[in-house]
């Protein structure tokens, strides 16, 4: 309930900021192709979905460690990676449903057209890629216990440079170039294009798919490494 309430407060604030931007003139809408409110709402939702996917496995690993059930699960004879993936997937699906529902509520509140299926597909692809990276984040968490750097770096850079609250053409050229390396930038470009009814640009789509494939493979490798290292060090159950 508190989460829903704070989501509605954030939506109201973005609508008010949208009015301020509209008062400043029609330059933003003509250049970006949508109102600032919907631009920022779509940015916040997609970014939030990505961050939730990035943290899903890490949160599950931490929770299982706190409960003391991680060792018990890993003693079950199942592949440790499968155990973590299955445990985190439920959390991931719940988060995805919450964010998609929030998107429909936001479109209803702001009177904007409902999110297109293509936008949902792109958001799903982005979430899968971030979840792959989340496996790596979980692996590092198992070893480091606190101060996990992957989620911190991606979270901070995506929020600042990924085009969540302002377009990347406002950034200095070198930061705009750095922004193109972030999956969030491409995911948001695709989602906003599909919301505007435009055909999906190919380059961001390829970039997003490539990121997803690389993140999934590297995520499994890092998670395996983390579990093996903790098993050797005897710190699986520590948090």
């Amino acid at each position: 309930m508190l989460g829903i309430l704070s989501g509605l407060v954030s939506l109201a604030m973005l609508m008010l900021v949208g009015r301020v931007v509209a008062l400043a003139g029609s330059g933003f809408e003509s250049r970006v192709g949508m109102s600032y409110t919907w631009y920022a709402v779509s940015g916040a939702l997609v970014h939030g979905l990505g961050m939730s996917a990035l943290g899903a496995f890490r949160r599950v690993v931490r929770r299982e460690q706190l409960q003391g059930t991680l060792e018990q699960l890993l003693a079950s004879g199942r592949s440790p990676v499968v155990v973590v993936v299955l445990a985190g997937s439920a959390e991931l699906v719940l988060q995805a449903v919450a964010f998609v529902s929030a998107g429909f509520v936001a479109s209803w509140v702001t009177g904007t057209a409902l999110p297109a299926p293509a936008a949902l597909g792109v958001a799903g692809l982005y979430a899968c890629g971030m979840a792959g990276l989340g496996l790596a984040s979980a692996g590092v968490t198992i070893v480091c216990k606190e101060g996990e750097p992957i989620a911190w770096v991606f979270g901070m850079l995506s929020g600042a440079l990924g085009g969540v609250c302002f377009p990347s053409f406002l950034l200095p050229a070198w930061l705009a170039a750095a922004a193109r390396l972030l999956p969030t930038t491409h995911a948001l470009a695709l989602v906003r294009a599909s919301l505007g009814g435009a055909p999906l640009p190919k380059l961001p789509l390829v970039a997003l798919a490539a990121f997803g494939a690389i993140a999934a493979v590297s995520g499994v490798v890092v998670l395996r490494w983390g579990l093996s290292k903790a098993r050797c060090a005897g710190t699986l159950a520590r948090y």
């Binding site: 409960q67 003391g68 059930t69 060792e71 018990q72 079950s76 004879g77 098993r231 005897g234 699986l236």
Partner: protein
């Protein structure tokens, strides 16, 4: 050589690095045959739990060879913090049985049976957080037994359990042993150890670097 459900050969385990390095298990040899119960007896810090965690596969030995004779042992490594506290005892047992490879339908039947054997039937629908320490210990034993493993690895399984619960637990584990299940467990006293089976007792002196031998 007869079939073994677990063998340790010269298994050692150290913790820490540099000046903080600590030898906890020193070249431990043991074997558990089907139907045999081996009890590690020793004071706190003598390496009992470390040996059991290695046997359960959640800790790697620093050196030595562990030969598991079974794919998945039934494991109870600590009852206080190893359950989903807000779920019922039944849901916990069914979930862990399912994770160990038991079908959902079979897990319901097996959970009801093992809970009946251990006198836990009335507690099955209570959330774990509401159970006493002794009940949680019995629940951890039930979880280890539920999928009928051929090896049980039990770390002080009857902590906090009352006399009635102990009698039931002895009977249930004894029945499983007669069916061929091997048991490796830990205990604090030789008397307790001999109640269960063959004792490997802590060899004396400073616990650091200790190992376990058959008492003379």
């Amino acid at each position: 050589m007869s079939e073994r459900v677990l063998e340790f050969h010269a298994v050692s385990r150290e913790f820490g690095r540099g000046k903080r390095r600590r030898l906890v298990l020193n070249s431990l040899d043991l074997s558990v045959a089907p139907g045999q119960c081996v009890v590690l007896v020793g004071p706190n810090g003598s390496g009992k739990s470390t040996a059991l965690r290695i046997a359960a596969g959640v800790l790697e030995p620093t050196s030595g060879i562990v030969t598991p004779g079974v794919r998945v042992p039934g494991v109870a490594l600590g009852a206080e913090r190893s359950f989903y506290m807000r779920l019922s005892a039944r849901r916990n047992l069914e979930f862990f049985a399912h994770v160990a490879g038991v079908s959902r339908r079979n897990s319901r039947r097996l959970v009801a049976r093992v809970a009946g054997e251990l006198g836990l039937s009335r507690q099955l629908d209570s959330v774990v957080a509401e159970l006493s320490r002794g009940m949680r210990s019995l629940l951890a034993l039930a979880r280890a037994l539920v999928f009928e493993p051929r090896l049980l690895v039990l770390d002080e399984p009857l902590t906090g359990v009352d006399a009635f619960g102990r009698v039931r637990a002895h009977a249930v584990v004894g029945r499983r042993m007669r069916q061929g299940t091997g048991v490796l467990m830990s205990g604090h006293s030789l008397e307790e150890g001999y109640e269960w089976g063959d004792v490997l007792s802590y060899s004396g002196g400073d616990p650091v670097g200790s190992s376990f031998r058959s008492p003379s």
